[in-house]
Amino acid sequence: MQQTGRCLERHILFNCPCEPIKIIIFLLWHSSYNLHNPCSYSSYNSQSPEGRKGKMEEQVEMVGKAFVDHYYHLFDNDRPSLALLYQPTSMLTFEGQKIQGTDNIIAKLVQLPFQQCHHVISTIDSQLSSFAGGILVFVSGTLQLQGEDHPLRFSQMFHLIPTVEGSFFVLNDIFRLNYG
């Protein structure tokens, strides 16, 4: 199962003319599937506890990276579609301003005072947040606004919660610019 999954991933990545988004969504789904169903790995149960822990950490890192790629790609190219990643219980704190729920969060993000922007990610750190499969993702990077000379530096954290469909949504989102 693990072997087949990896071969399929490589096939999609290198042979299919898929948009990057579809690849990222596939990897996100694939990672989350394996995270929720560790027994799907045929070799999983034969590993030592240390081996399993290492594998779990790898999975958590993979989900974190796939999510970050997906999130900032959407942000930079199609901000309204970020709505798919939030739910009514989601909370965003944006530069100290607290906002709750998909509609309010998307309204805030689409009316930020710039048309185009580009996020460049420097660091991504991920950890399991609890026993319910939640994942914390801590990001730092730069944000280039169109027309501005210098990029802004930022830090952001996400708390991802698994959905019944096997994906993740953002329950907690905190964004801060890092002033020099």
Partner: protein, 123 residues
């Protein structure tokens, strides 16, 4: 207690303990606690405190610029997101850092740090 007030109280306690007596941080972590320090992953109170007490400076001072907090879910946890400056004794310029904590309630009515991620913010 109001969540924002709780977050501020935790942050003050954490960094004043860090700056005065790093070993004293062990009461804030448990075996399940995870720290990622500049990309290095460490688990469990003993290992975490060993890492923090072995950092290559004797004295430091954290100065906090921002504290944001949100409840993390039905288990009563709280996420705390901090940014600030870290002044090392002997260094002319302070380092900028960001850090996030995931605090979980203890049966005794206190909190411990389940997740801790620290990153310096380089120019």
């Amino acid at each position: 207690m109001d969540p924002d007030a709780l977050a501020k109280a935790f942050v003050e306690h954490y960094y004043s303990t860090f700056d005065a007596n790093r070993a004293g941080l062990s009461t804030l972590y448990q075996d399940a606690s995870m720290l990622t320090f500049e990309g290095q992953k460490i688990q469990g109170s003993a290992n975490i405190v060993a890492k923090l007490t072995s950092l290559p400076f004797q004295q430091c001072h954290h100065q906090i610029s921002t504290v944001d907090c949100q409840p993390s879910g039905p288990a009563g946890g709280m996420l705390v997101f901090v940014s600030g400056n870290l002044q090392l004794v002997g260094e002319s310029h302070a380092l900028k850092f960001s850090q996030m904590f995931h605090l979980m309630p203890t049966p005794q009515g206190s909190f411990y740090v389940l997740n801790d991620i620290f990153r310096l913010n380089y120019a």
